[in-house]
């Protein structure tokens, strides 16, 4: 089966072609530089960029695939969740494309695409569905923090999510308080690598709570108070790096502890991590150690599939169509608040 997928849920315009579980073309146009000067994604600017980039990005993916549109079996698109105006550009273009080319169109949940992106591996990248085992998955990015139980392929249940800020949002907002450029998460990771993660004590919110939910807004506030009370910390490289390492450790400790605890409770054999924050080196290191200690297999999404991309959308769409998913009707609309089942 050959799928062309489009993804425009936030600030990346992406198109990809997947054939029989293999990613044969993946093009991502990132808007990070555009949004950096504003310290975050500006939805209006993101929408304008999608409108400019969608056609060249899609054509580039088709060219790279060496296939013609006529050879596609279906079109897939991110239907939600995401920024409404950004989602709209991708969905409406995909609907018209599918309609004019007489192809079925499948709407994909962005979180669900991230959820299964941990199975995309190798060169060329392919979906390794054959090695699936019951799993607890951590899907973590600037917009969401989810813990999901996968009993089987496409048979999953949301265990918990964040009550307030997403983990990536906590990284970005604390980085902003420190004065690091957007996106702050990768900068925190880079500087934190030089620092001492136990130099400063920050709370680990909900780490012992008897549920699978997360909360990071209190941690963010405690960093604000810490900076108010210790303004000199930012003047020295060592103390600044220690601060980044300590904040990062607080976030990562919670993510890892709750993921492992859920996996053990549910008897899962495997843990996965995906989404933008899954690029964080401390999270990858700590999850690797914790899974090893608890004899759990670990699948970390490849960094190129952690950030938003259409390849994961195409991979999931192909799997869904194989299992009989129904195409979208022509009057389907975006689902900006679409929660994972």
């Amino acid at each position: 089966m050959i799928i062309l997928a489009l993804e425009t849920s936030c600030d990346e315009t992406s198109a990809a072609v997947v054939r029989d579980g293999v990613v044969i073309a993946s093009v991502v146009s990132s808007q990070i530089k555009l949004h950096t000067e504003y310290g975050g994604v500006v939805p209006e600017l993101a929408t304008r960029e999608h409108l400019r980039n969608l056609m060249p990005v899609t054509r580039a993916a088709l060219t790279a695939s060496g296939l013609a549109l006529a050879e596609m079996d279906a079109i897939a698109v991110t239907q939600g969740p995401g920024l409404p105006s950004a989602l709209l550009m991708g969905l409406k273009a995909a609907q018209a494309l599918a309609y004019a080319a007489r192809k079925p169109l499948l709407g994909v949940n962005h979180h669900e695409a991230h959820l299964y992106s941990a199975w995309i591996t190798g060169t060329p990248a392919r979906a390794e569905w054959g090695s699936f085992a019951p799993t607890v998955s951590l899907v973590v990015s600037g917009g969401h923090t989810l813990l999901v139980h996968l009993r089987g392929l496409l048979d999953h249940r949301l265990l918990g999510s964040t009550c307030d800020d997403a983990a990536g949002e906590c990284f970005d907002k604390t980085a902003k308080m420190i004065g690091l450029p957007y996106p702050g998460g990768p900068e925190m990771d880079r500087l934190g690598a030089e620092g001492n993660p136990v130099a400063y004590e920050f709370p680990r919110p909900l780490i012992d709570a008897p549920n699978d939910d997360f909360s990071f807004s209190g941690l963010k506030t405690s960093v604000r108070y810490f900076l108010r009370d210790h303004p000199g910390v930012l003047d020295q490289r060592k103390s600044l790096c220690d601060l980044c390492a300590s904040v990062q450790a607080a976030i990562v400790d919670v993510l890892v502890a709750k993921t492992i605890r859920a996996a053990r409770r549910l008897g899962a054999q495997c843990v996965t991590a995906s989404g933008g924050v899954a690029c964080n080196s401390a999270l990858r290191r700590q999850l690797t150690a914790a899974c090893s200690k608890n004899r759990l297999a670990l699948r970390l999404a490849a960094p190129s599939y952690c950030t938003d991309n259409a390849a994961m959308v195409a991979i999931l769409a192909e799997r869904k169509l194989t299992q009989g998913a129904a195409p979208l009707p022509w009057n389907a609309e975006i689902k900006p608040g679409w929660e994972i089942a």
Binding site: L45, R52, P56, L88, Q95, A98, N331
Partner: protein, 229 residues
């Protein structure tokens, strides 16, 4: 050739299918452009573009593959509606070798006014924040021309301009000027204008809504200089 015209720039969303000579022969001789089908939705919520397009094609007994061009109303007006129309044109152009054209909603309204009246007129559209998208024109027996080009005008300026004489027109004009003439941009007019503007066709990825208001967002402070070790 058959052109599908879309105007989603106001609450009244319209789609029209027209047939006329090849755009290579523009300007088209009069009377050779035929409206094959038209669809209206009275609100954005009721407007599903592809359902409307499908209904128009079915009514005209035309296959989607027979569409050779798309004419898109670029407003000014609802950014969301106009962008939906542009995204549709982009998707269609990715799938099929169609030409695309962007048509000003102001030109559309001037054409509709000139089809029913003569004399000075002002097109005034809601630009939010108390402002208007404003242009002034004159309709004559030979057509219409602009005497005041489209610009973003304050409410005060708009009222002052309208006091100089002329019929105010626009889709919501009676909200501010009760004696104004309500006119909505119609896709059928957008389509007819496509034949006039044929040589100005642009790739769909270069289409964008008519933006008149400069955007400005709060910029982040410059990042901290990280002390060296």
């Amino acid at each position: 050739m058959k052109i599908l015209a879309v105007d989603f720039s106001t609450n009244l969303r319209t789609i029209a299918l027209l047939e006329g000579p090849s755009l290579a022969t523009t300007p088209a001789p009069g009377g050779e452009i035929h409206l094959l089908a038209e669809q209206h939705a009275s609100s954005p919520q009721a407007a599903c573009a592809l359902d409307m397009i499908d209904a128009a094609l079915a009514a005209a007994k035309v296959e989607r593959e027979a569409v050779e061009g798309l004419a898109i109303g670029l407003g000014p007006g609802s950014y969301t509606g106009i962008r939906i129309a542009i995204a549709l044109a982009q998707g269609w152009q990715l799938a099929r070798p169609v030409i695309t054209l962007g048509i000003s909603g102001m030109d559309c309204l001037a054409t509709q006014y000139a089809a029913q009246a003569r004399g000075r007129f002002w097109v005034a559209l809601d630009a939010q924040r108390g402002d208007f998208y404003l242009a002034g024109g004159e309709a004559t027996d030979s057509g219409w021309t602009w005497h005041t080009p489209l610009h973003l005008a304050s409410g005060e300026e708009t009222r002052a301009q309208l006091d100089t004489g002329g019929v105010p027109i626009g889709p919501e004009i009676q909200r501010w000027f009760p004696h104004g003439l309500i006119l909505h941009p119609q896709a059928s007019t957008i389509g007819r204008l496509a034949w006039k503007l044929g040589p100005m066709m642009v790739p769909a990825n270069e289409l964008e809504p008519i933006y008149l208001r400069e955007i400005s967002y709060a910029k982040a402070p410059p990042p901290r200089q990280i002390p060296v070790a």
